[in-house]
């Protein structure tokens, strides 16, 4: 799964720490998400979309190999 979290974060001028505080996770988690190392739970994905006032689809995108 791909995401454009970094773009959204830049749009809102949030640091990784700002975003981490808003959704109550560690900065390491935001960093791992942005690097594509960690796929968040539905709860976390929806929290992120709530912070950026958008839908989960606008932040996350399935990749071909996700269907296998």
């Amino acid at each position: 799964m791909k995401n454009n979290l970094k773009v959204w974060r830049a749009k809102y001028s949030f640091t990784q720490q700002d975003l981490a505080d808003k959704i109550n996770v560690s900065r390491q988690t935001i960093n791992a998400l942005e690097k594509g190392k960690y796929i968040p739970s539905t709860v976390l994905a929806l929290k992120l979309s709530a912070v950026f006032e958008t839908t989960a689809h606008d932040i996350f995108e399935l990749e071909d190999h996700d269907w296998n």
Binding site: N24, V25, S26, Q28, N31
Partner: protein, 156 residues
């Protein structure tokens, strides 16, 4: 996050203070000799020669140094491995869980290796240490992964 199977964050420090000295002392006691002041008479549910004696004595004299140190090492190790992080979130839970799976595999791999290479009475040593290898591998893998995560923060 439902994490009520974890200890509070401050318990981790207690765990380190308990486990590290206990483990070092345990190794010393096993390699050298137990101190005399740890000699006690204790109740044993399965005393020596339990089946052959008519009136087996359930009170036996034993040096409790290794027993006490094994217990404190295990309790300390559990506190280290299963205390909440300062920021306990779903990613850290994931890392802890994967470390548990990893530790089970490594633990049994070591056990199987010992089974086919160590025989007879010496195998008791294996059993003594195998009690702790699961926790040790779990803690090492988990802490190493956390360190890598922290390091990757500064690799921007």
């Amino acid at each position: 996050m439902n994490t009520n199977y974890l200890f509070p964050n401050y318990a981790k420090r207690i765990g380190w203070l308990l486990a590290v000295p206990s483990f070092i002392l345990l190794c010393l006691v096993i390699m050298t000799d137990s101190p005399d002041f740890m000699e006690f008479t204790v109740f044993s549910i399965i005393p020596d020669d339990f089946l052959n004696q008519e009136n087996p004595s359930y009170w036996v004299t034993n040096n409790l140094a290794d027993e006490v140190l094994t217990l404190t090492t295990i309790i300390g190790g559990l506190l280290i491995a299963f205390s909440k992080e300062k920021k306990e979130d779903e990613y850290i839970s994931e890392i802890r869980k994967s470390s548990v799976i990893w530790a089970v595999y490594v633990n049994y791999a070591l056990y199987m290796l010992a089974t086919i290479t160590i025989y007879g009475f010496d195998f008791l040593w294996v059993l003594q240490f195998n009690v702790l290898t699961l926790l040790i591998v779990l803690i090492v893998r988990y802490e190493w992964y956390k360190y890598q995560l922290k390091k990757s923060l500064y690799e921007e």
